[in-house]
Amino acid sequence: MKKVLMGDHAVSHAAMLSRVQVISAYPITPQTYVVEELAEACRDGRLKAKFVMVESEHSAMACIIGACAAGSRAFTATSSHGLALMHEMLHWASGARLPVVMANCNRALGPPWNILCDHSDSMSQRDTGWIQFYVESNQEALDTVIQAYRIAEKVLLPVMVNLDGFFLTHTAEVVDVPDQDQVDAYLPPFSLPYKLDVEDPHSFGAICLDDNFMALKHDMQAAMDLARDAALEADEAFAEIFGRKYGLLEPYRMDHADTVLVTNGTITGTAREVVDDLRRRGVSVGLLKVRMLRPFPFAPVRSLLGDRERIAVIDRSVSYGLAGGLACEIRSALYGHDHGRPRVFGYIAGLGGKDVVPSDIEEIVNRTLTYEQPPRDDIWIGAGT
């Protein structure tokens, strides 16, 4: 059924449709409407789940780790400083191979105090062993949370679904909310192979020194490798039931494009408009949306970008002293393989909620076409420099 929903509520609808059994959250800033709706649904009986209110995001993650370890489908949502506070527990969830799902509303980390859209929060957590998606619309946010449980429970790794703060979270738009029976057909009840069970006791979280630690970490990396196929399978199966499909990456008007923009999150939608406009004016430019950041889809990135002349990557965060994180991933995918070697131009834009408008993206394309070589590894747009 089509409804006009904010991104936050698209996510809470998805959690309800996924029949989550335990939700834990810290309810104050930087929390969003996601868990407010879920708390109301638990209270009024729309959702048969336990809502556990805690005193911090660190505890919220600890709580859903415990719930999942006991065999419950568990969910939380956070944002910016809340995600930063969870950092230690993120490692615990992935290391314990617990398939929890979290929505992160991408917002800036202070100081200076900001609260607006920025990818620094989730980009800072790339090495924690979580699968990461970045979505472009409220529909994709809803669909990806449902897909996330199928992927997580297949490979036993946690999934973080990232949606742009305000540009999605506080923006209402038309969302097709699936029927419960269709979601039930897509997402069977959760069953964890080894769980906390007094009838069938096992040791969990035991110390593991130099004898086995590395083998278990290698298993995690192998599970990440499997996650790419699991995500493709989840997407195909989703398309069969719901008629919508997203891929790990989405090429847009890339046929014969010499220059390709690479984006993630909501900048993608605006970039589609710019690409259409530039194509009408005869500029050979296409667009690649990166939906899955972890595991990074190296092989398709290579085959889609390897033979292009120029790549312009737009990052909504920066690794200080290095460059934009997405640009670095693209460079690392393209270096040292058999294809031609495109020149990769990395742009930093839209930090702290700074609007990225069509003329900014057009400027990025124009600069990319004008430069002989990148003047720096990070080229800032809109910083007043």
Partner: protein, 187 residues
């Protein structure tokens, strides 16, 4: 594509107005977006909210810089805020005010409509005299002035979206539609 900007003060319901308008336009078969001016809100401080509608999916994700029409929920903002900033030539400015038309500042190049949405709201028991809730009433005036949304779609959107006093809000919208004053419909 049609783009509308709402100006109000924190607590008046500008954000809800932008959502109800989006809901009504959705019911008329459009793709829609509505969102507040992003940031921290304070009661009484100037706020803005936005609605977009189109006959095909809306992909652009930026703020609205050149609206087609503007709705002003609080006439005191006319003295402090450039409500017509970026407004496209010939666009409507729909103002909630108890001032008579001759006391509204000239807005060259734009069409202006007024409604005493505060009085309409109080007549229906919405808010208190110092803080009437005008957001549903002014949407009636928007419908009357611009013709861009139907009164029936608005009424249904209000009944569906407003959690308290939905019927009174819907009636306020209809009443305001009927007592909207068109000051200038020619440029």
């Amino acid at each position: 594509m049609i783009e509308i900007r709402f100006h109000g003060r924190g607590g008046q319901g500008a954000v809800v107005a932008s959502k109800i308008l989006a809901e009504a336009l959705f019911r008329e078969g459009n793709f829609v977006q509505s969102f507040p001016a992003f940031g921290a809100e304070r009661r009484g401080a100037p706020v803005a909210a936005f609605t977009r509608a189109n006959t095909y999916p809306i992909r652009i994700r930026t703020h609205i810089y050149a609206p087609d029409h503007v709705v002003v929920l609080d006439a005191s903002l006319l003295d402090t805020t450039d409500v017509t900033a970026g407004l496209k030539p010939g666009g409507w400015v729909v103002i909630n005010t108890d001032r008579s038309p001759e006391n509204i500042p000239a807005m060259r190049g734009f069409k202006v409509a007024t409604v005493d949405a505060g009085a309409v709201a109080l007549k229906h028991g919405l808010g208190v005299p110092t803080a009437p809730i005008v957001n549903t009433a002014i949407l009636g005036a928007f419908a009357k002035a611009t013709g861009k949304v139907g009164l029936e779609a608005l009424r249904k959107a209000i009944l569906d979206q407003v959690p308290y006093n939905a019927r009174a809000n819907a009636q306020a919208c209809v009443d305001a539609y009927q007592c909207t004053i068109i000051i200038a419909d020619r440029i």
